[in-house]
């Protein structure tokens, strides 16, 4: 018995010895003049990194063959934390992917590099409302009303439907969408674009009379929609289409007449990034046709640059018509950033914990 234990211990030890940490040390990055060397991209896992590696890598390989992209997957929090903690030295990212609201916060904190337009020619093709100095929105979606076609009639046209007593107890709420719901209330109050969302708070409180069903995971909300447990919810069109395609109840979505704001996914360069040239080349590649189509087809997010030919099927399902585009208006991210924590606290206390 003793001998066997020694054998096992010996094997484990030998294994550990064979495995030297040297193999895993942070590899030196070749000094890059022009676009070469490693570009470390902090981004989301799952489908996002899959689409990126399948569409952006080949595009970049053609124009900058000396660039090697390394994807560091993680959630928003890790990237935000690392950005803040690393600000006094070199960043561990060359590119970070976060949503537009967090981008604005990073700009406020002075953590993003001002982009060199000359190195991102594709940025000229961005729709006007998406252009800015510090980050590149590379796809977007917008909130819609997702509804059960068999149970909700007539077809909703306004955000007001969420307050309709007919649908009491049948409204699902994603618990992390406090900003989106505050916006809707303010929009109905008419003050969303006057930077006064607090005016909609009473309307939000009224919403609790609808016996809302909160969902902290999207998966359970999706299932609830498909089994008919809830009939209405507010979600991105991309997600709405995905849920509708998964079978179960017949689901439709509509962009209400009052309008909505775009939810964009963005990429930017940390001020202290190591490979600035490579990073710019990456950003340019993001706006290329291949990735733009890839995101639309795989994840349901719409291109942010003009002139991307989407297939009829894709355009009609996840795309926005010209008419709808007129109703999609961006919000003041600085105002939102300042008030978001306060709204979240109110939301947690008064809306979703009832």
């Amino acid at each position: 018995m003793d001998r066997k234990v020694w054998l096992v211990l010996g094997a484990v030890f030998a294994y550990l010895l064979s495995f030297t940490p040297c193999d895993r040390g942070a590899s030196a990055q070749s000094p890059g003049q022009g676009a070469s060397g490693k570009v470390i991209v902090g981004t989301f896992g799952g489908d996002t990194v899959k689409v990126l590696s399948e569409t952006v890598d080949p595009v970049l390989a053609k124009v900058a063959p000396n660039v090697k992209i390394v994807y560091a997957i993680g959630m928003n929090t890790e990237r935000m934390t690392k950005m803040r903690v690393e600000k006094d030295g070199a960043s561990s990212f060359d590119i970070i992917h976060v949503n537009d609201r967090d981008m604005q916060i990073l700009i406020n904190e002075g953590l993003l590099l001002k982009l060199d337009e000359a190195k991102i020619p594709n940025a000229k093709k961005l729709f006007p409302s998406f252009r800015n100095d510090h980050y590149i929105p590379y796809n977007f979606s917008a909130n819609v009303i997702l509804y059960n076609k068999n149970k909700v009639s007539p077809v909703p046209t306004s955000w007001e439907v969420l307050w309709d007593p007919k649908y009491k107890g049948k409204i699902g709420i994603q618990t992390n969408l406090w900003t989106d719901h505050m916006y809707i209330a303010a929009l109905l109050e008419g003050t969303a674009y006057q930077n006064n969302w607090d005016a909609g708070w009473n309307r939000m409180l009224k919403l609790t009379e609808q016996e809302l069903k909160p969902f902290s995971s999207m998966e359970t909300l999706g299932i609830a929609l498909q089994t008919g447990e809830v009939w209405l919810t507010v979600t991105r069109r991309a997600r709405a289409v995905q849920w509708a395609a998964e079978g179960g109840a017949t689901l439709g979505n509509v962009l209400p007449k009052e309008g909505v704001y775009p939810v964009t996914f963005c990429a930017a360069i940390p001020k202290n990034a190591k490979n600035v040239d490579g990073a710019h080349a990456y950003l340019n590649a993001l706006l290329d046709q291949k990735p733009q189509i890839g995101f639309a087809e795989v994840m349901g997010y719409t291109p942010t640059v003009s002139g991307i030919p989407l297939s009829e099927k894709v355009q009609s399902s996840i795309g926005f018509t010209d008419e709808e585009m007129k109703r999609i208006k961006p919000i003041d991210l600085i105002y939102v950033g300042k008030n978001d924590p306060k709204w979240k606290e109110q939301w947690d206390k008064k809306i979703i914990s009832r």
Partner: protein
């Protein structure tokens, strides 16, 4: 009296089965779901298929993550067991001032919310890095050390429990017969507490393998561990693939435990 005993015996069989079934319910469900043919997790399932397992083979990230998780857990467990053993001996065999403070210190990682641990370690190392001018994070060694820290409560606790129950007179008898203190320990005590050591190793391994928050901040770009991959996957969608990943994980670890059983006899362990 006999009858009472028989009834209570059946009662205990029934109770044990029910309770175990309760504890194991999620395992059964996850394994079952991994064979569902449809993406939506509804009962009863429309059919069964192995498609999700095949899906894993296509995703190299899961396989690489599994390898890294395994390497980190193995290294961390080994180190944790050694220094846990040393610390346990120091705690139980000697009179030390501030013993209870030390005991609390060794248990402290359990008391701190893990996300704080992960973030705090990262921040600390970045600052240290700036001060010392050498690159510390992210690196394999720091990741392993971080995992050692979160597993120390287990190794210290379990080995201490084993050592407390040992009759010190056995060692003294050996020394009376001419053995040195070290030899007495090695030949007499160590074999007796080997089960506790193995138990410590198993718990430490499981804990390290399953840890998310510490690894999140300390893995190198382009690498990840299994819990990180799982978290990132379920953020976007939940389908039976993740159930398949989980099933593979427990099957492999279960096999490893069976091997450990062959070697030391797990019945002696706990």
């Amino acid at each position: 009296m006999r009858f009472g005993l028989r009834v209570s015996r059946y009662f205990s069989y029934g109770a044990v089965t029910a309770i175990l079934g309760f504890v194991l319910a999620p395992v059964v469900l996850v394994v079952w779901i991994s064979f569902f043919s449809q993406q939506l997790i509804l009962f009863p399932p429309k059919g069964y298929s192995l498609a999700w397992y095949q899906n894993i083979l296509n995703q190299k990230n899961f396989i690489n993550a599994f390898i890294l998780s395994f390497q980190v857990a193995l290294a961390a467990t080994a180190i944790s067991m050694i220094i846990g053993l040393l610390a346990s001996i120091g705690l139980t065999r000697f009179r030390l001032p501030g013993k209870s403070t030390l005991q609390n210190l060794f248990l402290s990682p359990l008391v701190v919310p893990v996300i704080i641990t992960g973030m705090a370690m990262y921040i600390f190392f970045i600052r240290l890095q700036r001060m010392m001018g050498i690159e510390l994070v992210p690196s394999f060694m720091v990741l392993v050390l971080a995992h050692v820290i979160i597993t120390i409560p287990w190794t210290v606790r379990l080995i201490t429990a084993g050592l407390i129950g040992i009759n010190a007179e056995l060692e003294e008898a050996a020394m009376d017969l001419g053995a040195s203190k070290w030899r007495a320990f090695w030949r007499i005590t160590l074999p007796i507490i080997r089960p506790s050591i193995v138990a410590a190793g198993i718990f430490a391994f499981i804990f390290s393998f399953g840890n998310l928050e510490v690894s999140l901040m300390l893995v190198e770009p382009g690498e990840s561990t299994i819990p990180i991959e799982i978290l990132n996957y379920v953020f976007w969608k939940v389908d039976p693939t993740i159930a398949a990943v989980a099933t593979v994980k427990i099957v492999i670890t279960g096999i490893l435990m069976l091997i450990a059983d062959r070697v030391v006899g797990l019945s002696n362990v706990f």
